[in-house]
């Protein structure tokens, strides 16, 4: 049987083995491409992880007393579920009306998207990107582009800070390692950081919104 090698955050180490409260691999939409992608969902923590796979040809693994071809290495990193909610909110938003969230987050291809409705503080998350109405103690939501762009701006700024802390090389790609000057951060202009962060976040949002964000 195929075996997979994963790098997970350590606190998931003692996730229970029981399906109800353990870890689950689910297929949900990739908010950038609209195609499917594999995610990890912790039922007890109600937390979502994206799965990135490190792929380089001509590798294999020895795992204990076995060999596993491919040499793939999977990373599970926590992911902000709002990016996934956005996918459904933008689609529903085209109708221009307020709707209950459980009628927005519906998907017959990726039926596990309903797990997103179990997220703690869902209402707080939704407030970042929607207008909200309450009628008879029932909440209705509508996608708000303005709020979303403001939220994404914060994301970009957080990402810029993280790129700097991690000394990620964001300058033009032709810069070769031989010219890597020690005060690289000075040499990488602020706008390079913003552009890089925008590009990175655009891997999680549709093209149209990425263009809006770039203008914004």
């Amino acid at each position: 049987a195929r075996q997979h090698v994963f790098l997970l955050p350590e606190y998931l180490k003692d996730a229970s083995k029981k399906i109800k409260s353990g870890l689950m691999f689910i297929k949900l939409v990739n908010p950038c491409s609209g195609e499917g992608a594999i995610y990890l969902f912790s039922m007890c923590l109600k937390q979502l992880f994206e799965i990135k796979v490190f792929k380089e040809k001509y590798h294999s693994w020895f795992i204990n007393e076995s060999v596993q071809s491919g040499g793939l290495l999977h990373f599970a990193t926590p992911m902000d579920p709002v990016f996934l909610l956005l996918h459904y909110l933008i689609k529903a938003g085209k109708e221009g009306k307020f709707q209950p969230i459980d009628q927005v987050v519906m998907d017959d291809v990726f039926s596990n998207c309903t797990l997103l409705l179990k997220l703690p503080e869902l209402e707080k998350l939704l407030r970042h990107v929607t207008e909200e109405k309450e009628i008879d103690n029932k909440k209705y939501y509508k996608y708000s582009k303005e709020k979303t762009l403001k939220w994404l701006e914060k994301k970009v700024n957080q990402t810029v800070a993280a790129l700097k802390v991690n000394r990620v090389n964001v300058g033009a790609r032709v810069q070769s390692a031989a010219f890597f000057c020690s005060d690289q951060i000075l040499s990488d202009k602020e706008e390079d950081y913003i552009c890089y962060a925008h590009g990175l976040i655009s891997d999680y949002i549709p093209k149209e919104l990425s263009d809006d964000l770039s203008r914004y």
């Binding site: 990739n30 792929k55 001509y58 060999v67 990175l200």
Partner: protein
């Protein structure tokens, strides 16, 4: 012959040499170079030199040294111990090249072919004798590859010495015969007392002479091929015989350079210029540079 060094680590190269007879540092000496074990699919290849003063060549001849291939194992052993007894005027040195070293040289990313390995080992041994102070004035070598170009190469490397490279030198020149006996004795002993580096219980030593057409060797190879790891390191993986068995009995393995070789020349030049269509969105450079892409299936 004390091969304990080799038995400690038989995955690389091991050099042995006799003490240098004092007379060899004074009088002009003749030195012979030969090898043993070029053909076998398993076991080491051994390069040996043997030298003595020109004035004592007749004594060496009197030992009735001859081309090792024409002698039985007992005769070789007897002659070698005789040479050891005559340690006051005969010296020798040898390089044992393990099968692992041979295979990794021939199969490495930078190919190091067998003839170059042989040439370098032979000149390394001649240099070793010179470094030990032996007064070498003539060298006789059994050829590997084209005799003329080999001779010219050695002559250039050792300009103060007269070099003669000739086919069948081990039958023509006593010092080369003596070297071939040293090499063969060393190889026979190394193969007989081979220490398997693999922790395998059922590895038997019934592998015969090691030559590809030896039925015992063939049967042994078939008996001990492991689908993922191939053979124990006694075997020369770079040998056609071993590769043929791996191709039929073992799992397929692709290496980066071999796959590239297959692809080279097969890509149409236009493929370098075709875009993937206006809509294709590449993953961000951050992920591309790290070889990361979204997992779409497990």
């Amino acid at each position: 012959m004390d091969l304990s060094e080799l038995e400690k680590d038989n995955t690389g190269r091991c050099r042995l040499s006799s003490p240098v007879p004092a007379v060899c540092c004074k009088e002009p000496c003749v030195l012979g170079v030969d090898e043993a074990g070029r053909g076998p699919v398993l076991g080491p290849m051994v390069y040996a030199i043997c030298y003595c003063p020109q004035s004592r060549l007749a004594d060496l001849e009197a030992l009735k040294v001859a081309d090792s291939k024409t002698l039985s194992e007992n005769e070789r052993d007897r002659l070698f111990s005789k040479m050891q007894e005559d340690r006051d005027f005969v010296g020798w040195a040898l390089d044992v090249l393990s099968p692992n070293l041979i295979s990794t040289s021939m199969l490495g990313r930078v190919k190091y072919n067998l003839n170059s390995l042989s040439h370098d080992t032979a000149s390394g041994l001649i240099q070793h004798a010179l470094d030990q102070g032996v007064n070498v004035t003539q060298v006789f070598v059994d050829t590997v590859g084209l005799a003329a170009s080999y001779q010219e190469r050695l002559q250039q490397r050792f300009p103060d010495v007269t070099v003669t490279v000739k086919a069948k030198a081990d039958a023509l020149y006593p010092v080369v015969s003596a070297a071939s006996i040293c090499a063969k004795v060393a190889r026979d002993q190394a193969v007989k007392s081979w220490q398997f580096v693999e922790k395998e219980q059922d590895l038997d030593a019934d592998y015969g002479s090691g030559y590809p057409n030896d039925p015992k060797t063939k049967a042994w190879l078939r008996r001990h091929v492991e689908p993922v790891f191939g053979f124990p390191q006694l075997v020369r993986f770079s040998w056609r015989t071993a590769q043929a068995i791996l191709e039929t009995e073992a799992e397929n393995v692709t290496w980066e350079d071999s796959a590239l070789e297959e692809q080279e020349g097969s890509r149409k030049i236009t493929s370098y210029f075709q875009g993937e269509g206006p809509q294709a969105r590449h993953p961000h450079r951050y992920f591309q540079e790290r070889g990361l892409e979204p997992a779409t299936a497990l």
